[in-house]
């Protein structure tokens, strides 16, 4: 197992794809039919259990509070109250929350990418003073929870007059070591010969980075975009601290505000919850393989 786990991580997706593309017939022959059927049966049961909360969210989202408080609650909707999906938009600034969430996620993705791609390359391929000490210092903060530094960070945001502003949410969270770690890890696997060839052709360090290394880094960029987007879209504690004005809320903060507003009227609450996770579900559906790849890349090292 001392074999390079990094290479395992980077080849993992291809391994899955190959397994899907070429091996089925081969492997099917090796597994008794009974075994495959048992595994499918277990997987179906597990999937039903794991997906039931999701189903129940959808089912509840079209129900009235009367329907939900008359026991027993039917497992399938009797009538469909689609107004649960539309009414809250006019009662609460849901559109604002959505905009805020989008702006914060996009800004975070752009800045995280710029900062981490450059720094990851520098830490992987360029020699400069104190390089290893600095990298170690940054990496040591990989697992520091927000709650550790929230008090001084909050003061800082106040001093910068960024309370209730999107930037107050975005800026402090740029100091996250995950992206940098992932980027450095990826750039380490870029062969030095390639970089030197570009240098010999007369390209400067920045040009080499921009026109030789970056075009090779699409899988890294995809993983970084997706993970940063997911983390910032779902983030709760920090926006909860920085945003006090309902108009400035992001979707998760807005949702927890709605819990009190709707109290027992769960229909609209779950409808809004579903709308808030829908973008994330779509991103996941379309870019599934990058989630797996990214987890493998960050996860194993």
């Amino acid at each position: 197992m001392s074999t390079a786990l990094t290479s395992v991580a980077t080849t993992e997706v291809t391994a899955i794809e190959e397994a899907n593309a070429t091996l089925p017939k081969d492997e099917e022959r090796r597994q008794p039919r009974r075994v495959v059927l048992t595994r499918v049966a277990i997987a179906v049961v597990a999937a039903i259990i794991l997906m039931f909360p999701m189903y129940w969210m959808l089912r509840t989202s079209v129900a009235t509070s009367d329907e939900l408080s008359t026991l027993p609650v039917p497992l399938w909707p009797q009538d469909w109250h689609w107004e649960n999906y539309t009414q809250p938009w006019s009662q609460y600034p849901f559109g604002r929350w959505l905009t805020n969430s989008v702006v914060i996620a996009v800004l975070s993705v752009v800045f995280t990418l710029a900062i981490n791609l450059m720094a990851g390359y520098a830490f992987a391929k360029l020699r400069f003073p104190m390089r290893n000490v600095l990298f170690l210092l940054i990496i040591s903060t990989l697992m520091v929870p927000v709650q550790v530094i929230m008090v001084p960070q909050f003061q800082m945001v106040i001093d910068l007059h960024l309370i209730n502003s999107n930037w107050g949410v975005v800026l402090p969270r740029l100091a996250e070591a995950f992206g940098l770690f992932m980027a450095r890890q990826f750039f380490l696997s870029v062969p030095d010969e390639l970089i030197e060839a570009a240098r010999i052709d007369g390209a400067g360090h920045f040009r080499t980075f921009w026109s030789v290394v970056l075009p090779l880094s699409k899988p890294l960029i995809a993983s970084l975009v997706i993970f940063t987007f997911m983390w910032r879209w779902n983030e709760f504690v920090w926006p909860l601290i920085v945003l006090n004005d309902p108009d400035a809320y992001t979707l998760p903060v807005g949702l927890q505000f709605l819990i009190q507003q709707f109290s027992s009227n769960f229909g609209p609450l779950l409808a809004m919850s579903f709308l808030s996770i829908l973008p994330m579900l779509l991103v996941f559906a379309f870019f599934q393989k990058y989630f797996v790849e990214g987890v493998a890349r960050t996860g194993l090292k």
């Binding site: 499918v40 999937a47 408080s69 903060v253």
Partner: protein, 314 residues
């Protein structure tokens, strides 16, 4: 942390010594400049929003401070108060209990899912995706979904339990069951991650190893005990440490589902720090709790780092 990819530099052609040194040092300077320049945005961001706040947390922990007005230096009084703070110890105990339960459950579920979906079967990709869906959902939305499921009176879970003849469970009024509900949600959220990490590791086990094992009579359960599990040990170690640190940070679901209650039975350290800092407005005290969380997390980070280093050197 990794030395997997060795730096390969082509041997430079012999040049006359004097000229060569000058060229080399100019190139080196350019490389240094480029390196520092490209790293500088990250260094700036980390200094401003991580290193300074981290240092300030220690400083704040020695103060009495409400969040506005004047700070008052009180030395180690916050820490002395923490030692005598029953709620702090309850929160620590809850965190410990929660960690001790969620981490092994998460490992078992993640590994089972990976083993189940590792080899070919119909719709394998779809199953993998479905198992992973809870990972991409925000903690707040998950909390709301389960708020409805765990409702003691009209929740569907209790309705199902009573339908099959079991007693209804007081998910919100009973401390133990409230903790169980949090653990259930965390497990639901975490299976996909463990699965994907284990799947990556399983893909890395060469087929020959299994074939050799089959010859030696290692099949089924025996094969798992003697071949798969030992080979997965580094992955398991990684996941254990990662989940321990992660379980110190569980916040969103608790905030939505139980608010730390009933009483303090689901209050964890991060909730307590947040509550002290931003509800009770005892920011110095919250910073002191932050320092303690930091030290605990640091121990595990170092542990993990040392392990992955020794593994890479091996």
């Amino acid at each position: 942390m990794t030395t997997v990819v060795t730096r390969r530099r082509a041997p430079e052609p012999p040049v006359r010594p004097g000229r060569r040194r000058r060229v080399a040092s100019a190139a080196l300077k350019a490389e240094r400049r480029a390196g520092l320049l490209m790293a500088s945005p990250a260094l700036l961001v980390f200094t401003l929003f991580m290193f300074i706040p981290l240092a300030l947390t220690f400083w704040y922990s020695l103060q009495r401070y409400s969040g506005f007005g004047r700070m008052r230096f009180i030395g180690l009084d916050n820490y002395a108060a923490i030692i005598n703070d029953a709620t702090f110890w309850t929160a620590s105990l809850n965190t410990l209990l929660y960690t001790a339960l969620t981490v092994p459950i998460g490992i078992v579920c993640g590994l089972s899912a990976a083993l189940l979906l590792n080899r070919w079967m119909p719709a394998r990709g779809l199953f993998r995706a479905l198992f992973y869906v809870p990972v991409v959902i925000s903690g707040v939305a998950s909390g709301i979904i389960f708020l409805r499921l765990f409702d003691p009176i009209v929740g569907i879970l209790n309705q199902m339990l009573t339908t099959i003849g079991l007693p209804a469970i007081d998910w919100q009024g009973n401390g133990t069951w409230a903790l169980v509900s949090i653990i259930l949600v965390s497990t639901w959220q975490g299976i996909g991650f463990g699965m994907v990490v284990y799947l990556a590791a399983l893909q890395g086990i060469p087929r020959e190893v299994y074939e050799a094992g089959t010859v030696d009579g290692a099949v089924g359960w025996k094969r798992f005990i003697h071949i798969t599990w030992p080979l997965l040990r580094p992955t398991t170690f990684f996941l254990v440490v990662y989940s321990i640190i992660g379980s110190f940070q569980v916040f969103d679901v608790v905030y939505v589902l139980t608010r730390g209650g009933p009483g303090t039975s689901t209050t964890f350290l991060v909730q307590y720090a947040y509550d002290q800092g931003f509800n009770q407005r005892r920011q110095g005290y919250a910073a002191a709790i932050g320092v303690i969380i930091y030290l605990v997390v640091l121990v595990f980070t170092v542990l993990q780092w040392r392990f992955s280093k020794s593994r890479d050197d091996a």
